[in-house]
């Protein structure tokens, strides 16, 4: 166990790409957490998809050993957090486990939307903030201007900001000193009954369920009987340790410390992020305040391409949910796609990442249906129902009115792209709340219907601003909206998995674009295919995929029949990746891709 005054727990928060992961790498190296041989860039981004996409999805923790200039040895617990809006929940969890934050700001870019969103969350959690200006090595770095901006826009003192280059390693020691000197030590009572916050958990193929904890009071030791206060389950701890970042066994964890335990946990439902872990024999009187779970805002259906994979999908979702408490799922069935799950996500990137992780880590082939937001449908009999799936939309004659979720979006954008961004927001039915300037950048606050944002708003924003605009949002309120269900029919049969909710004013153009896009995505087949879009029985758009005219190989390859058979087998494989609707095969990729399409 470590003396409380020798412990500092901190999160690293920043806008995406400002250098959190790189700074974490440098801090780990500086403290000798890994030797040179084992080091790889973005040490903490351990998932393949994090490394490939260059983003952090999961919060990660590392325990660092640091001998400060006062000659004393300190334990520094670091949390690297994601920056993307969709993963705000991960950020909030990390923050609750720490006393302070390093706020990384790119000295050439300045404050961005997620800088703001994350730093306010940290302040709400009572954090001491250490501003760090990164990328000081870049010619475009302007620390003076950025410090001023931090003071003006965020309203915190930036005079003590540490100027570093995470890339070259310049001034890393000063960051560590600032942590030791400026962050408060944690508080806690080693003699009191155990109170540990369940920060995160995941499934490890060798260890089973691994639980990440932050101890408030008491001690956590091997062999101890513990109880999950909310879940009510009890277990015996069989391993206690910390990440350095390699897992390292410890005799015990005491107040103020962060680490992991394993306890032969089998039931995924027993580990609820935000729960309090206490002792079985001497339980704490009160649990710690848990996290406010963030509500999923985007829903879609996930179906196995091969219907036989349903059970495998269910087990995989359960394991993944252990590692990401922010998505939800429940069984669903579709006439077109069979059995699957309706899943809720924090945003579209979150949806894509979960889908990709299921496919990669669990070797599943999935079909995703159109993402939808949650509508509050007021029926004529006074009832209000939440509709997560366009298929469940009640008959229009029973509907009095429909409410849809709105968000409050904060956008930072350089002056020269302001016009384009304003136009984008207006096109998406946005209403301007605020427009202010911070230097040469505008800060826009807009209210927008969430449905207008979930599909591709972020991509569009990046493209109209050449990547310079930054964006953050929070779900704000529900408002009445003129929303209708747009149905897609293939050879006159409605395909439930392709129906979407749209604003009436946009319905026709969305219907047209969808039909055109589907026409592109559905390959020519032996029979003619009619694709139609309809609102309440009225056809508003149609396209036809003409029948295949000719595909046979003219030439005789002499006796090389194997080549022809391989070709046939490949085509049969391709057909397996399609879904059949009557005589029509629709490639699984069409379900998602078609719905992203819009008129520009």
């Amino acid at each position: 166990m470590t003396d409380l005054d020798r412990i500092r727990n901190f999160a690293i928060i920043a806008h995406i790409d400002h250098g959190k992961s790189t700074l974490a790498d440098r801090l780990i190296q500086f403290c000798g957490g890994v030797d040179q041989r084992e080091f790889r860039d973005q040490m903490l981004d351990s998932m393949d998809i994090e490394r490939e996409r260059g983003i952090t999805i999961k919060a990660q923790t590392v325990r660092l050993a640091y001998r400060a200039q006062d000659g004393k040895d300190y334990v520094l617990n670091l949390m690297d957090t994601p920056g993307h809006v969709d993963f705000a929940y991960e950020v909030s969890r990390s923050l609750a486990a720490c006393e302070g934050s390093i706020l990384v700001v790119d000295a050439s870019q300045g404050v961005e939307a997620q800088t703001l969103a994350n730093v306010y969350q940290a302040i709400d959690n009572g954090h001491e903030i250490v501003p760090v200006l990164n990328k000081i090595d870049l010619p475009a770095a302007d620390p003076g201007r950025v410090k001023q901006q931090i003071e003006d826009v965020i309203g915190i003192d930036a005079s003590g900001a540490v100027e570093v280059s995470a890339k070259t390693g310049l001034n890393i020691g000063a960051v560590l000193e600032a942590l030791v000197q400026r962050l408060p030590a944690p508080v806690g009572d080693a003699a009191a009954p155990l109170k540990a916050l369940l920060v995160d958990s995941w499934y490890d193929p060798y260890l089973g369920v691994v639980v990440l904890v932050r101890i408030r009071d008491g001690r956590l030791v091997r062999g101890q009987k513990i109880r999950m206060m909310a879940a009510g389950a009890t277990y015996e701890v069989d391993r206690v340790g910390v990440f350095t970042p390699k897992p390292k066994d410890m005799a015990a964890l005491g107040p103020g410390e962060m680490g992991f335990i394993t306890a032969g946990i089998k039931a995924v439902a027993d580990v609820k992020v935000g729960d309090t872990i206490t002792e079985e024999r001497r339980p704490a009187a009160e649990p710690l305040p848990g996290f406010k779970p963030s509500l999923p805002v985007v829903f879609c259906g996930l179906f196995p391409t091969d219907t036989a994979d349903f059970e495998h999908l269910r087990e995989s979702l359960a394991k993944l949910r252990l590692n990401d408490a922010s998505f939800v799922y429940e069984p669903e069935s579709s006439a077109a796609l069979g059995f699957g799950f309706r899943c809720g996500f924090l945003g579209l990137l979150h949806l894509e990442i979960i889908q990709e992780r299921l496919e990669r880590e669990f070797d599943l082939d999935l079909i995703a249906t159109a993402p939808s937001v949650v509508y509050k449908v007021h029926l004529t009999n006074g009832e209000v129902v939440d509709v997560y799936n366009p298929v469940d939309m009640p008959d229009p004659v029973r509907v009095d009115h429909i409410e849809e979720p709105w968000i409050k979006a904060t956008i930072f954008v350089p002056d020269e792209y302001l016009g384009a961004v304003l136009k984008l927001c207006e096109d998406r039915r946005g209403r301007q709340d605020q427009l202010t300037y911070a230097g040469t950048r505008a800060m826009l606050v807009y209210r927008l219907p969430l449905a207008e944002v979930v599909f591709d708003f972020y991509d569009r924003l990046k493209s109209v601003s050449r990547g310079y605009a930054s964006f953050d949002y929070a779900v704000d309120s529900y408002e009445e909206g003129d929303v209708v269900k747009l149905a897609i029919l293939v050879n006159a049969e409605p395909v439930d998995a392709l129906s979407i909710m749209v604003h009436r004013a946009e319905a026709e153009s969305r219907g047209r674009v969808l039909c055109v896009k589907l026409k592109e995505l559905i390959p020519q087949q032996l029979f003619k295919i009619a694709i139609q879009a309809a609102i309440g029985g009225r056809i508003i758009a149609r396209e036809t995929v003409s029948a295949l005219r000719k595909d046979v190989t003219a030439k005789c390859y002499g006796g090389d029949i194997s080549r022809k058979r391989k070709l046939l087998e490949k085509q049969k494989e391709g057909k397996k990746r399609m879904r059949q609707f009557g005589k029509v095969d629709i490639p699984q990729s069409a379900f998602f891709a078609a719905l992203k399409a819009r008129e520009n």
Binding site: L526, R549, K550, D551, C556, G559, S562, Q571, K572, K575
Partner: protein, 387 residues
């Protein structure tokens, strides 16, 4: 009669050409010198080694393909034919074909080839007009082609020639005129191929760069229809997707491939399908001439692989080859060549859909036939019906 007994063919590959045509992905190579004796000995040895387990067969066809087998010394051709005749009994109506290029130098050998035992030639005419032949990178001109056809007609019992249509920039009218001119020269058999862009060829490279633009599908399809109509009207109906003949004049050797009968492949890159003890084998020889030679020297045969074809795969192969024939697949013959009853090789739901859609036809005796509509989209039809 033994007309219905499965045939046994021998394919002999000669891998050399004077130059490489830009559309060609066949196993052909250009070499400045060729050790003719060495090649003759190697071919004979390969043939002999492979023949051993099949001594009880009777040869119904021999085919010299390439490359350009008309470049072979007639003595080499004679040696191979003689050895085949020594190894097996030959059917009385045995068909012995050689693929010939129409270059005058090769035409000069026609008489010697005839004397060596060649009864039928298939000439790679490809086009009758000089510009088109230049575009195709051929080493011969239109007049040379005409002379080659005339010589073949005079010297051999049977002859055929190949044409390639749907060439870049070709019009429908130009093609029907060219086909008309070809008909005036044709005998009992004609092969007409739509130009395809094959991976690894110069044409494919040019197409990707945008330096050559394939003919649009619509015109190509119209040409396919026109070809069938014109040749039908002239008594040369299609008996396979790209092959036309007077009734009874089909290439027996190629019919063997389409009916999934046994054939033995000799020479570099040659393939074989052979049944032994109820098991179907697929053989594949080394492609590169030098590697093949070394393999023959070391092992007595040039084999790169000899694989067992699982019954289900054999059924697929028999199906995809057989439906190319306008006569379709006869159930008893199908079962005899691949061991599986025809209906066990078919997905009943897909079959029903294809029959209902007018792509396939089932005759009273169970014969399965691709209709004209089905023939042109055969690849897609096969995906629907193959198990």
């Amino acid at each position: 009669m033994t007309a219905d007994a499965p045939g046994f063919g021998v394919y002999v590959h000669w891998p050399f050409c004077v130059s490489k045509c830009p559309y060609c992905d066949f196993n052909s190579h250009v070499r400045s010198t060729i050790d003719e004796t060495g090649w003759r000995d190697a071919l004979l040895r390969d043939l002999e080694t492979q023949a051993r387990p099949f001594a009880d067969r009777r040869v119904t066809s021999v085919f010299f393909g390439g490359g350009t087998p008309s470049l072979m010394a007639p003595a080499t051709v004679a040696a191979v034919i003689d050895r085949i005749a020594a190894l097996w009994p030959l059917a009385p109506d045995v068909e012995i074909t050689l693929e010939a290029n129409p270059n005058s130098a090769e035409v000069a050998r026609f008489r010697d080839l005839r004397a060596a035992g060649i009864g039928r030639v298939s000439i790679g005419v490809q086009a009758l007009d000089d510009d088109a032949l230049r575009l195709l990178g051929r080493a011969h001109g239109g007049d040379e082609a005409r002379r080659a056809i005339a010589a073949a007609a005079a010297i051999f019992d049977r002859f055929s020639f190949d044409l390639i249509y749907a060439r870049p920039g070709q019009g429908l009218d130009a093609w029907t005129r060219e086909l008309g001119a070809a008909l005036a020269l044709a005998g009992e058999h004609l092969s007409v191929y739509q130009l395809t862009f094959e991976p690894g060829t110069r044409f494919e490279q040019l197409r990707r760069r945008g330096d050559i633009v394939p003919l649009d599908d619509e015109t190509a399809d119209a040409m396919f229809d026109a070809t069938r109509a014109i040749l039908d009207a002239h008594g040369l109906p299609a008996y396979e997707i790209s092959n036309h003949a007077r009734p009874g004049a089909a290439s027996r050797h190629n019919l063997g491939y389409w009916r999934y009968e046994d054939y033995l492949g000799v020479g570099p890159g040659a393939h074989g399908r052979l049944t032994l003890g109820g098991v179907k084998y697929a053989t594949r020889a080394e492609r590169a001439p030098e590697t093949w030679m070394a393999q023959v020297a070391a092992a007595g045969e040039g084999m790169a692989a000899r694989d067992v074809v699982a019954p289900a795969d054999a059924a697929r192969e028999a199906l995809l080859m057989g439906l190319r024939l306008t006569a379709g697949i006869s159930p008893p013959r199908f079962q005899r060549v691949c061991g599986t009853p025809l209906d066990a090789a078919l997905d009943p739901r897909g079959l029903a859909r294809m029959i209902e859609g007018g792509f396939l036809r089932r005759d009273a005796d169970g014969t399965l036939v691709a209709t004209p509509a089905g023939l042109r989209v055969l690849d897609a039809v096969l995906v629907e019906i193959a198990r």
